[in-house]
Symmetry: C2
Subunit: 419 residues, 2 copies
């Protein structure tokens, strides 16, 4: 399996350990996807159900901790139906297991014995878990300031944790330095991770009866979910399984919104102005290309410099979607709105609720068929933050009936699960 540079065309064997082209570009993977509903129906009910479109890994090397096809749960959102993709029901409590499961399987097949990564959150925990299962040694570089509560899961799986003084970027630099002698299993740089994320698109397609949704709304930081979704739906379109891409709506926290800023600039450059409902007007940053990185409740998407920004912009544009940005107050309100419906998520996932509200305000929520909103991480991962916020729902999932008034028969409806 070769990694290929989209800029200069150079190819590098996976086992070489090269994680960035000598020209500086992130690397891609070229696959010829096969997506046949008949074959998929016969497959296992995990990521490898879509093996025909994933990096090729012989079954005996595949690493599984019990991934499932995550549920698609309908709920009412201000009078409109939204399908919530409950992607926190993965073994480590986050959607990252899609990318990690596929990446670690391919690394195991390639004989990789030891990996490094930089993350103090979901990606680090996910990598540590799959490496434990695969028998691959794993070292995770984290900012020295990361809270013990965020690290305990990584450590429990047996990964070595190295604390790096300074800001988050220093942990990245330390991991990249270590990558001179050990494999850099980066969820941001390694394209195997992105190709694992494609399973999200394939599952939605299958769960909707082999149809694309009208739109997908999801949190966006480094862009693995955006690019994974884009690659997956692109595979489906190329295979003739769907006729058009769903509109992709990545949501950023306004406090750290490089993609949103770039999107607004891009639209302005083409003589358009995005609907004002889709995000607040942000104060300009110091210089062109510089981005803010303010503190945000949505820690999981606080990515000041996504390495694949141009690809991300192109994917949103091609899909007919838009980039959204939401404020801290909206994230908090989103968290409460989701909890009240029975979805207990980490604050990062709550940007999706805020994004749905913005799409609704802009009249864009429901125009091309089903809207899928992706809930990426479990609230159980953020107990400290939720305690600090004192989360309690602003509105109940359904109007509570008065005393003596039956909740049941008066209130049937949207509580089933779509399969």
């Amino acid at each position: 399996m070769d990694l290929v540079c989209p800029r200069c065309g150079s190819a590098w064997p996976l086992a070489s350990g090269v994680w960035r082209c000598s020209c500086g570009s992130p690397l891609d993977l070229r696959l010829t996807p096969v997506l046949d509903p008949g074959a998929i129906r016969q497959g296992p009910r995990n990521l490898w159900r879509y093996a025909g479109a994933l990096p090729p890994v012989e079954p005996r090397y595949r690493v599984s901790l019990g991934e499932v096809l995550t549920p698609l749960v309908p709920a009412d959102w201000g009078g409109r139906p939204v399908l919530f993709k409950v992607d926190y029901l993965f073994p480590t409590g986050s959607y990252k297991d899609r990318g990690t499961g596929v990446m670690v399987s391919a690394l195991r097949a390639a004989g990789v014995a030891e990996v490094v990564e930089d993350s103090s959150g979901n990606a680090g925990a996910s990598l540590a878990a799959y490496c434990a299962r695969a028998g691959i040694r794993c070292t995770v570089y984290v900012p020295a300031a990361a809270s013990p509560a965020k690290l305990i899961q990584i450590q429990a799986y047996g990964a070595r944790v190295v604390r790096v003084p300074g800001p988050r970027a220093e942990a990245t630099r330390a991991a990249q330095k270590a990558a001179a002698t050990r494999f850099y299993a980066s969820h941001n740089w390694n394209p195997l991770f992105l190709h694992g994320m494609k399973t999200l698109a394939f599952e939605i397609w299958e769960q909707l009866g082999w149809q694309a949704p009208g739109a997908v709304v999801f949190p966006c930081g480094f862009g693995s979910l955006l690019l994974g979704c884009y690659l997956g739906f692109q595979d489906l379109r190329r295979a003739g399984a769907i006729s058009r891409l769903p509109r992709l709506y990545p949501v950023q926290a306004a406090a750290c919104a490089p993609l949103y800023r770039a999107w607004v600039r891009r639209e302005a450059g083409e003589g358009r102005s995005p609907a004002p409902e889709l995000g607040p007007e942000l104060a300009p940053t110091g210089e062109e290309g510089a981005t803010d990185a303010g503190p945000t409740l949505a820690e999981g998407i606080a990515a000041a410099q996504p390495v694949r920004l141009p690809q991300m912009l192109a994917a949103v544009a091609e899909s007919g979607g838009a980039v959204l940005a939401v404020t801290e107050a909206e994230i908090r309100a989103g968290l409460e709105a989701l909890s009240a419906r029975g979805f207990y998520v980490e604050p990062t996932s709550a940007v999706v609720a805020a994004g749905l509200d913005r799409l609704e305000a802009a009249g864009l929520l429901d125009r091309d068929g089903p809207v899928v909103a992706v809930l990426t991480g479990s609230g159980l991962k953020a107990t400290d933050t939720l305690l600090r916020l004192g989360v309690s729902p602003a509105e109940p999932g359904a109007e509570p009936p008065g005393p003596g008034q039956p909740a049941g028969p008066a209130n049937p409806g949207p509580a089933g699960e779509r399969q």
Copy 2:
């Protein structure tokens, strides 16, 4: 739907709100189960897949937050294969959603508008979540000493939390007092909850190719998992779908082991002595029937007075199994052994790992076919405790290869998922 007293035969309509027979006995439910693999295969991939053997609830009243058929993941245990049932992959992070999902659906159909419960842990969170989804008002009585970290999930779903001074039993008394005017949706008393737990048995049967396993090993406190499993496999045997029950091995913490004590007494009374490997010798408690309730890492099963103790004993005996007890040191070691294999569980679930070791030591682990070990709660629920313990794996999931030695090809094997 009527609740029936197994002792005196009285019947009480579900909607009456009666939670205990006037004779004092817990109530049961009489169903005529239908379990047809052909029909099951066509059903939805959630709890209602087995609707033919569950309390009857019309589809429009069923409440779902996205339950899945939880994975059965094989792993090596001291050279023997064990299938881990990853039951923490439920919406609220614990297996309790099986019982709650079915119970709340039936309550919704019966027009129940408001419920009370006593729990500071998984059952409270599960009930709060399903009530939020169903539009049922929910009040949870908790010991005043319960940590905020345990309560935040319950509160986030919008349940009212009432702190009751004194030991855990005072919270129970307060809930039972409130039950004079509101429905007592107790995971310990309400038989709907037990019948929801039957889905665990049905899933295992389906995932093993419509066969019973040789044994099931699981944590045991109030016994909902034990009795649910027993009822489920009993349904299957009555339907002719299996020829014998699997051996049931409930595991208790030695620090709070009323079922284990009763089992040892029962065996002695019948002239047998349980294998000494199955549990430590415990100091006698003060009087006959009194039980200890020492502090234990396995908080979720610290039940000093299970209300269905005689039923629990009979179920274990009929299955040909035994009751196990494990020490705090064994629980801690079990936690580390599971983490090292990529299973991040709360300490309560770790009694299962300790139980597997004891069964192996007694030569009972693997004598009648596949052994299923149930992992009931996510480690993400116990961040505080895990931080306090400083959990780190004692042994890796697979021997890490030396430098330059490929982990992959040298080490294929048990990393797949059984479907």
